[in-house]
């Protein structure tokens, strides 16, 4: 079931002097229950604008966004009651403690308290659990102004999860987090999605991290959604890279480029990366290299990473891809 549906959303900013900027152009996608979707694209592609339209911080010029069936413009309060989000920086109240901040956000959120449970006690327990989950419990009474960026980020994540949202939107959630924090973040997100059915939309430039976290990816460029592909598709498709370990890199590059329709690129002192369209003739290349007197001591296939896909798709024209 789709938790988030974005339909034909266009956002135009009117600038001074009568000029206008189309930040989003007819963008449509959906995110299902329990799905973790990575939202990727170059700087200025429109990711943040799209997220702001989804969360109601900005209003789209045309098109519609629904969360759990509620229109974010016409039924904003009901729609946003199902959303938890961090957008850009985790700006909480610096002169207050983490505990105070979360109590404040809880007080103005729609939190369902089980019948027979006292609201205040329930929320206090909820906040304590969240603080433990994001590793801030021991520092809960410190003012946020004393926190590092990573700790502020954790607090931001806690505030996003406070009302147990059905849709979690995380814009650069791993900013400032150390490797341990990033791993914990990944575990939290995957647990929320796969065990509690939360739909998650993550926007990040940390592609390696996203590749490990997400089930699906949306690629946006110049305000247009240019690709929508599953995590399984990453590494598949046209072209494979082969990496040869050789004793003479320059000679190996020359042999490959003379005999095959492939690009060869030296990597360091003794490795050559060969990129070809279609199936890579590993055995043939190896044979040619040996025949030319190049000693080959290693060979492996390099599957395309999300970063490779990102670079490849963003370098291509939008129309070529869709």
């Amino acid at each position: 079931m789709a938790i988030l549906e974005v339909k034909n959303v266009t956002k135009v900013y009117n600038k001074r002097g009568g000029r206008s900027l189309t930040a989003l152009n007819d963008v449509s996608f959906s995110v299902d229950e329990g799905e973790v979707v990575g939202f990727i694209g170059p700087n200025g592609a429109g990711k943040s604008t799209c997220i702001k339209c989804i969360t109601g911080l900005a209003t789209q010029t045309s098109g519609s966004v629904t969360v759990c069936g509620f229109d974010t413009v016409k039924e904003h309060v009901d729609a946003i009651a199902n959303v938890g989000a961090i957008i850009e920086n985790p700006d909480t109240y610096l002169n207050r403690t983490a505990l105070d901040n979360l109590r404040y956000y809880a007080s103005i959120s729609r939190i369902e308290v089980p019948s027979g449970t006292e609201r205040k006690a329930y929320i206090n327990d909820l906040i304590d659990d969240l603080l433990r989950q994001v590793g801030l419990y021991d520092r809960r009474n410190d003012k946020v102004s004393k926190y590092s960026l990573g700790m502020k980020q954790r607090l931001g994540i806690a505030q996003a999860m406070i009302a147990k949202p059905k849709l979690l939107i995380l814009d650069e959630p791993t900013n400032g987090l150390d490797p341990m924090g990033i791993r914990e973040m990944r575990d939290v997100v995957r647990t929320l999605a796969h065990e509690q059915g939360v739909a998650v939309l993550i926007s990040s430039h940390g592609l390696a991290e996203l590749q490990q976290t997400c089930d699906r990816f949306l690629l946006i460029r110049s305000g247009r959604l240019i690709a929508d592909f599953s995590a399984d598709e990453v590494g598949e498709g046209e072209g494979t890279d082969l990496v040869f370990t050789v004793d003479d890199v320059q000679k190996a590059v020359a042999v490959v480029e003379q005999n095959f329709e492939a690009k060869a690129k030296p990597i360091g002192e003794n490795r050559v990366e060969v990129t070809s369209e279609g199936n890579s003739p590993a055995a043939e290349i190896n044979e040619k290299l040996v025949q030319a007197g190049v000693r080959v001591s290693g060979l492996y296939e390099k599957r395309k990473s999300l970063e490779d896909v990102f670079v490849s798709l963003t370098e291509k024209g939008a129309n070529d891809v869709r």
Partner: protein
């Protein structure tokens, strides 16, 4: 939900450091004022004073501080949240922007009211203990500059305090509107204080050719304090030794109330409209 939002906004205000500074200022002001006042009346001046006089005079002295504090407070209600980025997490809650705006303004007005009433109560109780009350004493006042009426000293004293508090509210609403529209607290404070200081009306008082005009009667600063229209504000002597009316030329209380309602409604409408339509970027 509105109650919880309002309570949240009040808590934000209570945690501001400015409250401590203001508390110290008011505390010192009360102390110094009490000492000076006591010195004057115990001098063989023949003055007869009461708690109402004591309170009235003190309040007229501190109302300027209260107004400026209220302006600074109201100017930053949204502007500071925009500047610090905290507005995003607030607007990501299931609270309509209309509710949020109302809660913010109401919280500030309640907060300033509590502050004003608290200070007034302390001063009045001190005056009562020290000088006793003459609250039931009859006083003659002039309504709208032309209709004499009688009331008691208590009503005059607390009526004037109430009306001056209304003028504080009026400037707070203007500061809130400017601060929110411009997303700039400093600009709002400066503009509202200029407005409050009556700088725009000064030329009409000082320049003879302008003094004859009736422009003053429509100025915001002239009408914000309505106490003059019901004879509750202090009058001054003119050059000939006569009483200088607190009512501007051509003005009357009905026009003043109508204009203030119009100005404040326009300010509030603009604020609600912009907050509801503005993208948070």
């Amino acid at each position: 939900m509105f109650g919880r939002v309002l309570l949240g906004e009040i808590r934000k205000l209570i945690r501001k450091r400015g409250l401590i500074v203001l508390g110290v200022i008011f505390g010192l002001a009360i102390l110094i004022y009490a000492l000076i006042f006591n010195e004057i009346v115990t001098d063989e001046s023949g003055l007869t004073v009461c708690a109402e006089d004591f309170t009235s005079l003190f309040y007229s002295l501190v109302v300027s501080v209260l107004t400026i504090y209220g302006i600074v407070l109201a100017a930053g209600l949204y502007a500071e949240e925009y500047k610090r980025g905290t507005i995003k997490f607030v607007m990501l809650r299931p609270v309509s922007r209309t509710t949020l705006t109302t809660a913010k303004l109401l919280a500030a007005l309640l907060y300033v009211t509590a502050l004003a009433l608290g200070v007034t109560l302390i001063v009045f109780l001190y005056g009562l203990a020290r000088y006793g009350s003459s609250g039931s004493t009859a006083v003659d006042l002039v309504f709208n500059g032309d209709t004499p009426y009688s009331t008691t000293l208590s009503i005059k004293t607390f009526g004037a305090i109430g009306l001056k508090l209304l003028s504080v509210y009026a400037f707070m609403i203007v500061a809130f509107a400017i601060g929110t529209l411009a997303k700039n607290k400093t600009l709002s404070v400066v503009l509202t204080i200029i407005l409050q200081a009556g700088i725009f009306s000064t030329p009409f008082m000082l320049v003879d050719s302008l003094a004859g005009t009736e422009i003053q009667k429509v100025l915001f600063s002239t009408n914000a304090d309505l106490s003059g229209y019901i004879g509750m504000s202090a009058s001054v002597l003119d050059d000939a030794g006569g009483i200088f009316s607190a009512i501007p030329k051509g003005g009357n209380i009905y026009l003043a109330v109508g204009l203030m309602a119009g100005y404040l409604t326009a300010a509030l409408l603009a604020t609600y409209l912009v907050v509801n339509k503005r993208d948070v970027v």
